[in-house]
Every structure is written in structure tokens, then in C-alpha cells.
């Protein structure tokens, strides 16, 4: 019980997986092969395309980055040179006599001339303010009234010992107009001694010219910027730019500037705390990569389609013959002659077809042989059946003749004996009368014998129509008849309730009547006959029985008892034809039951018989 339950559970658990496998397995090879090939080629194509894409992309990114870096370096060089030129211009101006005198002697009379010189130096417009500042930082003279201040001390230190040195500050945002500016400082010397500073406060960015120059250098799509190396201020040479580009300073290759993705590289501008940055939109750079990817995908799709078609064609070459083979095998299995498979190929399929043809031929041959044999057998069975039927008809005709023709003379013998006794009694003496009576009696006996024999013979030929038989009622009826026919007898009946039988009622009636009449007959010598009827459990199962306290018999003759004309008593002791028990035996046998007897001389006999009680068709 437990193992059964476990087995059931595991079956249930396994079924979904099996179902999935079943779907793939139930696909035909014609479908499986192309699907497999397409999947395989698709996988390979995807792998190759993916790897190539990664390589190409890395290469494109790398070369773009290199080019940007070179461009940024060039821009930085140009800007650095420009800064140095300006510093050189300032240093030359510092040596100019007017300014040198002012810085050395602090002669106030020189101031107007010095201012004129400084205004000239600052150039037209308001792009710059130039001034001379004393070492302590106070303005000695300036090109206009814009406040000037010295940058921090560390950046000025090189100026004390190096006349070629200059100092440039990081870019700062001017509060008044938001423009970026820086301060450049050069030293003013009197015989190599630093006496004052020449300071220029200049607006950053070279203006449109510079931008146009640069753009011409690296292309219109490039974005050119520069700003402080520390990243706080940033400009596109004209206006302050978005600080987001500061990410570029920290090594990012690609940055988002709001509108589109950019590649960008930076390079430090020599002599300044600034860097220049060159950005380039990602999409034009990546366009060849994307085009490569699309081309690869198109090629891969073509290859996949080709592989699928090739696999389909190949599998058709294989499954076509297989399908024909299957059809042929099916028609062979149905019993039709299999068509001969014509396969013009020498490969495995060709050999398979050849083997199949051989097999089909043999099967067809053996089937023909079998059919022949069956026909022969059927013919023989038909002939034998006809023989049997004719024998049966002869037997019927014979028993009909016996029935009709044997009884007529017997009736005449018996009848005329009686007439002799009735009409001519006076002509006969006592001995003669006795002879005639014997003739009449024995003729009657023979009539009875013939009737019994015919009944027995009929039993072997009639078909058994079973129905439920009320054994109790049947026994009561038979006993009533016996009691009426034997009014002088003293019989004690012991009938127990019996279950119904499933049998032919008329035949069971005959069995019970024969057994009960036998019991009555063989208890004739008893003062009080005891006859019992019922059901008892035996080693052959529950059995009906009829028991008497009659003369019984020696059990060594028991096996003869059920044979036709077999008698254990002389006719003068107990009359009988010897057919009754043979009829009992045949009826029980034809019902698939058993009959047997237990007896002891002078004590009595018990007859047992079984009858099937279910509806199972036995016998």
C-alpha cells in the first residue's frame, strides 16, 4: 500500500518534465534538424558578431580617444605658446625705460607717461587692465581704474630669481559680467633685483578668432573648451561652459553634456594651471561600429537562413525515404503487400531499404503460406464439422426411430398379452397365465428402459439454458408427488433450507427426482425411512446432498454407480433400469458441477452434487 502511494507520487512529480521532453521527441526529424541547425548557427553567429563588435568598438573608441588626446595636446600647445608670447610682451614692456624708471625710482612725474604706455600695452577695448604694483602689492600705476591685486605668494616666488619667469592665476569669474579672467604677473628688475611687478588682468579666451582657428584644426563637430586644471571654472573660449565637463578631468572618456553623449580628452596647458579639453559627439564616432553591427547581423541572418534551408533540404533527403519506409511498414503491418522501395542510393538509407524489401518479401511469403495453412485448416474444420453434424443428424434420426419404431411393437406385445388374459383367460391354465403376465410386465419394463435411454441421449444434445432455481420449492414438489404415489410408506423427511442454484430447471428437477426416488426405493425395507435433503460444506466446496438410511452399498462399487445400465442390486430386490444415476451424472457434469456418493452397506447412502451459483458460464 505504502510503496504504491510513493510510486504514484513520483509519477505525478515526473510528468511535467516528461511532457516537455515528449514535445521535442514527438517532433519529426524533418522539423528537428532545421530547428537544431538554425539554433546552432544563430548561437555561433551571435558569438562571432558579439566578439567582433566588442573588438571593433574598443578599437574605434581607442583610436578616437588617441586622436582627441592629440588634438587636445595641440590645442594646449597653441594656448601655451600664446600665453608665453603675452608674458614675453609684458617682460619686454617691463624693460621699457618709462616703466623701468618708475619701478626703480618711484618718480611720480613719470606716472602719466607710464599710464600711456600701460594703456597701449593693455590694448584696445576693455579686455585687459595692466598695472605696476609694488612688491608690497599697492598699485603704483594702472591702465584704468579697475582694481588690481597680486596673485598668491607661492606663484610669485619664481619671479624673484628668474627674469624669464611669469605667473598665471587660475581663471576666475568676474562678478560684474560673469566673464572669466586671469591675472598674469611678470617681475620688474633693477639689475636682476626684483623691484616691482607688472600685472595684467585679462579676460580669458582668445575670442572668436581663436575658436575658429581651433575648430578649423579639429573639425566642426568638435567641442573645444578650456579651464582650470582644478576643474572649477570652464569656458568654451567665449562664455563659461557647463561644469559637467569637469568629469572629463577625472579620466572619463565619455560624458553627457545634456544634449548628446561626448567623447572627450584633456591636455594641460604648459605654464598655466589650465587644461584644454576636446570633445567629440559619440554618435558619429560610433556610427561605423553600429553599421558594422548591422552588417554583421544581416550576414548572420543570411547564414542562419541558409543553414536552416540546407538542414531542411538535408533532412528531407533523409526523412523522405524514411516516410516511404514507414508507409511500407504500416501497410505490411496491416496485412497488405508492402510496395517495393526503390531507393537509388548506397548509403545507410539505401541499405535499410534493401533490408526492408527483403524482410517484406519474406513476410509476404510466410503470410501466404500461413493463409494457405489457415484455408486448409478451415477446410478441414468445415469438413469435420459437416461430419459431426451428419453424425449428430444420424444419431437424432436413430433415436427418433428407436422412439417411434421400437415402442410400437412393445406396445403391441404388452397390449395383446393383456387382451389374451382378459378375453381368453379360460383357455389358459395358471402357468400359462403367469407366462403371459411376465411377457406383459417385461414389455412394459423395456418401454421404460427405452424412454430412460432416450432421455439420457437427449441430455447430451440439448443446450443448457440457465436460470435461478428455487431448490427448496422444487424439493417440496417432488416430495409431495412421492408421498402421493407411496401412501403406505412411513418416511421422515428432513429438509434443510438451500440456496438457489443457477441451472436449467427441468434438468435439476430430474436430478433431484432421481435421487429422491432412489432414496425412497432403497429405504423400502426400513420400517421408518429417514431421508434428508440440504446443503453442506465439503472439501469440494458447498454441495447439495440427499441422504437416506437405506440398504446402502459397498464403496468399492461406487465408481460404477454413475455408468449407464450399472446396477448394484438384482432386479427382484430393487427394480430399475440403471439409467437414473447416469442421467444425474450427465446433468451435473454438463452444468460444470461434480457428483459423488458416500455409502455403507445396511446403513445408508448420501449423494452429493455441486452446481455453479454465480452467472459465470461453466460447462
Amino acid at each position: 500500500m505504502t510503496s504504491h502511494a510513493i510510486g504514484h507520487a513520483s509519477t505525478v512529480a515526473a510528468s511535467p518534465r516528461r511532457e516537455g521532453a515528449w514535445r521535442w521527441r514527438s517532433l519529426s526529424i524533418r522539423a528537428k534538424l532545421p530547428i537544431g541547425a538554425v539554433l546552432l548557427v544563430a548561437l555561433a553567429s551571435a558569438a562571432v558578431t558579439g566578439a567582433a563588435y566588442v573588438r571593433v568598438r574598443a578599437f574605434v573608441l581607442g583610436s578616437a580617444s588617441d586622436r582627441l588626446f592629440r588634438a587636445a595636446t595641440q590645442v594646449s600647445d597653441i594656448l601655451g605658446k600664446s600665453v608665453r608670447q603675452r608674458a614675453t610682451a609684458l617682460q619686454q614692456a617691463a624693460h621699457a625705460p618709462v616703466l623701468a624708471a618708475l619701478s626703480t625710482h618711484g618718480d611720480a612725474s613719470e606716472v602719466p607717461a607710464a599710464r600711456d604706455s600701460l594703456v597701449k600695452l593693455a590694448g584696445p577695448g576693455a579686455a585687459a587692465t595692466v598695472g605696476v604694483l609694488a612688491l608690497d602689492g599697492h598699485v603704483i600705476v594702472a591702465s584704468d581704474d579697475t582694481p588690481l591685486s597680486l596673485p598668491q605668494v607661492p606663484s610669485l616666488q619664481p619671479l624673484a630669481s628668474d627674469a624669464a619667469a611669469f605667473a598665471v592665476t587660475p581663471l576666475v569669474r568676474r562678478p560684474q559680467d560673469g566673464r572669466l579672467s586671469y591675472v598674469m604677473t611678470v617681475g620688474m628688475y633693477d639689475h636682476d633685483r626684483l623691484v616691482a611687478y607688472l600685472v595684467e588682468h585679462r579676460q580669458a579666451g582668445g575670442g572668436r578668432d581663436t575658436v575658429a582657428l581651433m575648430t578649423g584644426l579639429i573639425g566642426t563637430q568638435a567641442q573645444l573648451t578650456f579651464g582650470n586644471a582644478r576643474g572649477d571654472v570652464w569656458t568654451d573660449f567665449a562664455l563659461p561652459a557647463a561644469p559637467a565637463t569637469s568629469a572629463i578631468l577625472h579620466g572619463a572618456n565619455v560624458t553627457a553634456t545634456g544634449r548628446e553623449d561626448l567623447f572627450a580628452r584633456t591636455a594641460p596647458i604648459p605654464g598655466t594651471p589650465w587644461v584644454s579639453g576636446v570633445g567629440f559627439p559619440v554618435s558619429p564616432v560610433m556610427q561605423p561600429v553600429h553599421r558594422f553591427l548591422i552588417e554583421c547581423t544581416l550576414v548572420a541572418t543570411g547564414v542562419i537562413a541558409l543553414a536552416g534551408f540546407a538542414a531542411w533540404w538535408g533532412s528531407r533527403r533523409i526523412t523522405g525515404p524514411l516516410a516511404r519506409l514507414t508507409d511500407a511498414a504500416a501497410s505490411l503491418a496491416n496485412g497488405d503487400p508492402a510496395p517495393v522501395l526503390a531507393l537509388d542510393r548506397r548509403d545507410e538509407l539505401g541499405r535499410l531499404a534493401a533490408s526492408f524489401n527483403q524482410m517484406a518479401q519474406r513476410v509476404t511469403e510466410s503470410r501466404r503460406a500461413l493463409e494457405h495453412l489457415v484455408n486448409d485448416l478451415e477446410g478441414r474444420v468445415t469438413a469435420r464439422t459437416a461430419d459431426l453434424e451428419s453424425a449428430n443428424r444420424e444419431l437424432e434420426a436413430f433415436s427418433y426411430s428407436v422412439s417411434h419404431d421400437l415402442r410400437a411393437p412393445l406396445r403391441a406385445v404388452a397390449g395383446f398379452s393383456k387382451i389374451l388374459l382378459e378375453d381368453h383367460a379360460s383357455s389358459l391354465n395358471a402357468s400359462g397365465r403367469e407366462c403371459v403376465e411376465t411377457i406383459a410386465r417385461r414389455a412394459g419394463h423395456m418401454g421404460q428402459l427405452i424412454d430412460d435411454l432416450l432421455a439420457f441421449s437427449r441430455l447430451g444434445r440439448t443446450t443448457i439454458q440457465r436460470e435461478t432455481v428455487d431448490m427448496n420449492r422444487m424439493v417440496r414438489g417432488i416430495i409431495d408427488e412421492i408421498v402421493r404415489a407411496n401412501p403406505a410408506r412411513r418416511i421422515v423427511w428432513d429438509t434443510q433450507p438451500m440456496p438457489p442454484a443457477f441451472a436449467a430447471p427441468a434438468l435439476v428437477q430430474q436430478v433431484l427426482a432421481n435421487l429422491l426416488q432412489n432414496a425412497v426405493k432403497f429405504t423400502r425395507t426400513r420400517d421408518e425411512a429417514r431421508i434428508g435433503v440440504g446443503v453442506t460444506n465439503t472439501d469440494r466446496g458447498p454441495a447439495y446432498f440427499v441422504r437416506d438410511n437405506g440398504v446402502g452399498f459397498d464403496m468399492q462399487y461406487a465408481d460404477r454407480l454413475f455408468g449407464v445400465f450399472q446396477r448394484l442390486h438384482a432386479q427382484h430386490e430393487f427394480e430399475g433400469t440403471g439409467v437414473g444415476l447416469a442421467i444425474v451424472h450427465r446433468v451435473v457434469d454438463r452444468h460444470g458441477g461434480q457428483v459423488w456418493v458416500e455409502a455403507r452397506p445396511d446403513v445408508g447412502a448420501t449423494f452429493y452434487f455441486t452446481l455453479p451459483r454465480d452467472t459465470g458460464d461453466v460447462g
Partner: protein, 141 residues
């Protein structure tokens, strides 16, 4: 039992066995019916007699007869509009079930097996005669 004796034959006995005829007549004699019996010995004779002017009140018909069998006679009788209501009792030696079934199927009124025992035979035949001629009410001609 004194019954009025009508001049015409009231029983037709059809039997080819003269001994059986003798025994049957002896049986009917006990009921004083023997002189009202006409005996024929085969089926053809029986049909000729039945198609003639006299119509018996009862036919005792054996089955195994020369020329025309008892069952054929019975079939002819039942097919004849004039005779089809005629009481026909089969009186034969055959106990075979097919004979009994066919006889009743063809419209026999009774089927009696001739007993071998003479006393039983006497009783059977005389009772048939009594029943069909005196007790039973036959349809008007």
C-alpha cells in the same frame, strides 16, 4: 354411460399400425365409442375422407404415416377453411420434442404419446374419446 348414438362416424382414426388400431379400438370400445370410429391407414386416405361429405367430430392422428405424414395432414387441415376448426389430437409413439413443437405450431389441439403399458394406453385413449366427444364443446359446423 349411455349417450345417444348418432349414425355418422364421429372419430377418424389415422394409423398405419393394425395392432395399434386394434388396441385403440379396444380402448374406445370401453366407452362404447368403437362403432363410431372410421379407420384409415395413411395420410392421403385421411385427406380424401376429410374432404368428402362426412365431417368427423375428432381426428386421432398418428405422425409416422405412409404417403402423407401426419404433420402434412395437419397442415392441410388447418389450411382448409372448411376443416380448420376441426379438433385434431396427435396420438403417436414419438416423444421427440421437435415433433411436439411442430405439431402444436401447426395447430394440433392435443399431443398424446402412446404409452407402452396397455392399461395406461387404454386409459389415455378412452379419456381422449370421452373428453373430445362428450365433455368438450366444439364449434358448430
Amino acid at each position: 354411460m349411455n349417450t345417444p348414438i348418432s349414425p355418422e362416424m364421429e372419430i377418424l382414426l389415422v394409423d398405419d399400425d393394425p395392432d395399434d388400431v386394434t388396441l385403440a379400438l379396444r380402448a374406445l370400445d370401453r366407452q362404447h365409442l368403437a362403432n363410431r370410429v372410421h379407420v384409415v391407414h395413411d395420410g392421403a386416405e385421411a385427406l380424401t375422407y376429410l374432404r368428402g361429405m362426412t365431417r368427423p367430430r375428432l381426428v386421432l392422428l398418428d405422425l409416422k404415416l405412409p404417403k402423407v405424414s401426419g404433420l402434412e395432414v395437419l397442415a392441410e387441415v388447418r389450411n382448409d377453411p372448411r376443416l380448420k376448426t376441426l379438433p385434431v389430437v396427435i396420438l403417436t409413439s414419438s416423444r421427440e420434442e421437435p415433433d411436439v413443437a411442430r405439431a402444436y405450431a401447426l395447430g394440433a389441439n392435443s399431443y398424446i404419446v402412446k404409452p407402452v403399458d396397455f392399461e395406461q394406453f387404454l386409459r389415455a385413449v378412452s379419456e381422449i374419446g370421452l373428453y373430445w366427444l362428450l365433455i368438450n364443446q366444439s364449434p358448430a359446423q
